[in-house]
């Protein structure tokens, strides 16, 4: 809300799926990972993993590095920070709104 949502929307959309969250955790646990490595330990196909990794990289949650024929991914926590900052800003927006509500009521009285 209040304009700050732009990039955060993509982060929240990416986080909205339990499978993608598990993938981020799997990548974070390994440090770096490829779709092949992750597919070997998760109950999903390599293609499905690769697709999810791409969307997480698009949302800025993973950094992709080309390594030979494979792409290696690592977690970039910065967008998660943005998401948390956005939550703080939602709280601040309510502080402002409730102060405005107080004024509006006082004017009406």
């Amino acid at each position: 809300m209040d304009g700050a949502r732009g990039g955060v929307d993509r982060v929240f959309a990416a986080l909205g799926d339990g499978g993608r969250r598990s993938l981020i955790e799997a990548v974070a646990t390994r440090g770096t990972a490829t779709a092949t490595e992750l597919a070997a330990e998760l109950p999903v196909t390599r293609q499905a993993v690769a697709k999810q990794l791409t969307s997480l990289a698009d949302a800025g949650l993973l950094r992709a590095t080309r390594a030979g024929r494979e792409t290696r991914y690592e977690v970039t926590p910065a967008p998660l920070e943005q998401a948390v900052e956005w939550m703080v800003s939602v709280g601040a927006a309510w502080d402002e709104r409730l102060a405005a509500l107080r004024h509006s009521l006082a004017r009406k009285a």
Partner: protein
């Protein structure tokens, strides 16, 4: 994890209630431009000066007590009024299904990065 805020205002709940459901009153404090069909299932559009626009559906409405809006992005906001000696306690709870995962993942990612 939800975002919660409370204030106490000197007005009675029925006065505060009008400011929650009448669009022209909502425009004084909630958003710049408001359309709201204040009944269960009714739709609302909230626009802010910075160009942001959010759409909502009224999930619950109990006059002078409770208004719950579901945002089209999956989140919701509940505004509850409770009569108190000083006037009315206004409690706002904004929730989003992604708040908790964002916090958990952040904690997890930093822990994993620190261990790597």
């Amino acid at each position: 994890m939800d975002i919660e805020r409370e204030i106490v205002v000197p007005e009675a709940p029925d006065e505060v209630w009008e400011a929650l459901i009448e669009p022209e009153r909502l425009e004084e404090w909630f958003a710049t431009e408001v359309e709201l069909d204040a009944r269960p299932g009714g739709e609302g559009v909230f626009r802010w000066g910075d160009g942001d626009e959010r759409h909502a559906v009224v999930r619950e409405l109990e006059e002078t007590e409770r208004l719950v809006l579901d945002w089209d992005d999956g989140g919701s906001v509940a505004i509850e009024l409770e009569p108190v000696v000083e006037g009315t306690l206004v409690r706002v709870v904004e929730s989003s299904p992604e708040f908790a995962p964002a916090l958990e993942l952040r904690a997890f990612a930093w822990t994993a990065l620190a261990a790597a």
